[in-house]
Symmetry: C2
Subunit: 113 residues, 2 copies
């Protein structure tokens, strides 16, 4: 009933908001492409739990998967994170525009004194 929205930015932020998933990204950034089992071995969670985390990251575009034989090699993708950066910058620029407008308004008033 409750329309479940899902935009790229929302998916990226949601994926990044879990500490385990951020750890996975850090691990991949450090060590490069890594097998699912290998990744799971670094955490005190079941293989399945980690597998699910990876799927979330994958859905958000934060990692890519390359299947070689029976092994799934996971690689971090930095590109989508730029979306967060962009959102942050947009918000900040909106905020600064208002402050600038406010300041010039005050300056104007001072001129009228």
């Amino acid at each position: 009933m409750v329309e479940r929205e899902s935009t790229p930015l929302t998916d990226i932020l949601k994926a990044a908001s879990d500490p385990t998933r951020r750890s996975i990204l850090t691990l991949l950034a450090q060590d490069g492409p890594t097998r699912v089992t290998e990744i799971a071995a670094r955490f005190e969670k079941s293989l399945n739990a980690v597998s699910k985390h990876i799927k979330v990251l994958e859905a958000a575009g934060l990692v890519s998967r390359r299947t070689a034989w029976r092994e799934h090699i996971i690689e971090v993708r930095m590109e989508p994170l730029v979306e967060i950066d962009r959102w942050f910058r947009d918000l900040r620029s909106i905020w600064e525009m208002r402050l600038d407008a406010l300041e010039s308004l005050l300056t104007e008033e001072n001129d009228n004194d």
Copy 2:
């Protein structure tokens, strides 16, 4: 039973990962400090729902509250968002370090040819 972790960065990202909450931040960045009721009026949700969203943003430090008479004036705080930026930059630098190491390794090998 499941240890519920909550770090500043996690709270910030979780707070930012909801579209409604991001809209509230944008609204506040544009219009400046605004009353809760005023904010709620901009959304097709109950006052209570918006009130709860604001509490989440507040807990993450993304907005501050100033109670004047019976009115609660909400203001956006940009500072905590820098944490996201920092995390992103850290991750990227870890990633670049690995690539640099990889590249210099390859160059070395070429030198040995």
